[in-house]
Symmetry: C2
Subunit: 155 residues, 2 copies
DNA sequence: GGTGTTTAATTGCAAGTGCAAATATATGTG
DNA sequence: CACATATATTTGCACTTGCAATTAAACACC
C-alpha cells in the first residue's frame, strides 16, 4: 500500500468522511437542513428552476428511488413542487418554489464558511490540481455509467 | 462559485459519490461485503489484531454507536470477537479472527483493481498532490475533533 | 465510604437507504 | 390493433443510521 494512487485513495476516503461530518455539523448547528437539500436546490436553480426527476438524481448522484423520497421531504417543506409532464405522462419535473430559492440562499453563507474552513490547509494550486484531477475522474465515471457499467471495467 | 477552493470542494463531493458507488458495485459484483467491512478488518490488522472499540470507530471514521452495530454484524459472521478488558471493565477490544484476516486478504485484489480503475485518469504527480493536500486537511480535522469541535471554528 | 461526575459501550426508536417489485405510460413489431 | 418490451417514477420491506437515553464501571472529592 505504498503507491501514490493507493495512498491518494485512502486519503480521499478518510478526508471525505471527516470533512463531510464537520460540514454537516456546521449546517445543523446553524439550524439548517442537510447538505443534500442544498444540492437539490442548487441543481434546480442552475437548471432554471425545473428539472426532470431522473436528471436531478443523476446530477446530485442519488439513486432514483432515493430521489423520489428526498423530493417528498423537500416538497413537504414547500421547497419545491412536482409537475407531471403532458407530453410523456410517466415523467415529472421537480420545480423550485420561491421558498426553496430563499432557503438555498440562506444556506450558502454557512456552507461556504464551512468549506473554506475545512479546505483551508490547501494551497490554491493544490486546490486547482485537485479540482482538475477529480473532475477528470468523475467525467470518466459519468461516461461509464452512460455506456453501461460493464464497459467501464473494460479498458 | 468560481474560486479554486469552492470548485475543488464541488469536484471532491461529486467524484467521491460516483467513485464510491462504483467501487461498492464492484465489490458486490464479486460477492464481497461492503467497503466498510474491509476498513474495519484492515485497521484491526494494522493494529496487530486487537483495538479498543472507540479507537476503531475513530480510525474508520464511524460514530461509536454505529461501530457497535457494525461490529455486531462482523462478529455474527465470525470475522472478529469482543474481549472485555480486565483493567477497565467498561471498555472492550475488537479482536480479529483468522477468518477475518482471510476475508480481508480476499477482498483486497477486488478492491485494489477497482481503485486503480477509478483513479486511472490521475497522473502520479496529481495523485501525490492529492494525497498530501487531503492528508493535511484530515490531520487538521482530526486535531480539531480532539480539541473539542468549538476550537475548530476559531481560527 | 458515599455521592456526584465522567467515560465506554450499548440500545430504543424514528428516519433514511438499498433492493426488488409494482405502476403507469410509451414504443416497436407483426 | 394487440402484444411484448422498454422507460420514468414510485413503493414494500428489510437493513442501516442518527439521536437521545441507558447501562455499567471508573474517578473525584469531601
Amino acid at each position: 500500500m505504498a503507491e501514490a494512487v493507493l495512498k491518494a485513495w485512502s486519503a480521499f476516503l478518510g478526508t471525505h468522511a471527516r470533512a463531510l461530518r464537520r460540514v454537516e455539523a456546521r449546517l445543523k448547528a446553524a439550524g439548517m437542513p442537510p447538505l443534500e437539500w442544498y444540492d437539490v436546490l442548487l441543481e434546480l436553480e442552475r437548471a432554471g428552476g425545473r428539472l426532470r426527476i431522473g436528471d436531478l438524481a443523476e446530477r446530485v448522484v442519488v439513486a432514483p428511488y432515493n430521489m423520489t423520497r428526498l423530493l417528498d421531504r423537500l416538497e413537504a417543506d414547500g421547497l419545491l413542487g412536482r409537475e407531471r409532464l403532458a407530453t410523456d405522462r410517466r415523467g415529472a419535473f421537480a420545480v423550485l418554489t420561491a421558498k426553496g430559492g430563499r432557503l438555498r440562499k440562506e444556506m450558502w453563507p454557512v456552507y461556504e464558511a464551512a468549506i473554506r474552513d475545512v479546505f483551508a490547509p490547501l494551497t490554491a494550486s493544490e486546490a486547482q490540481t485537485l479540482e482538475r484531477g477529480l473532475d477528470r475522474v468523475a467525467a470518466r465515471l459519468r461516461a461509464a455509467d452512460r455506456d453501461g457499467p460493464e464497459a467501464a471495467a473494460a479498458d
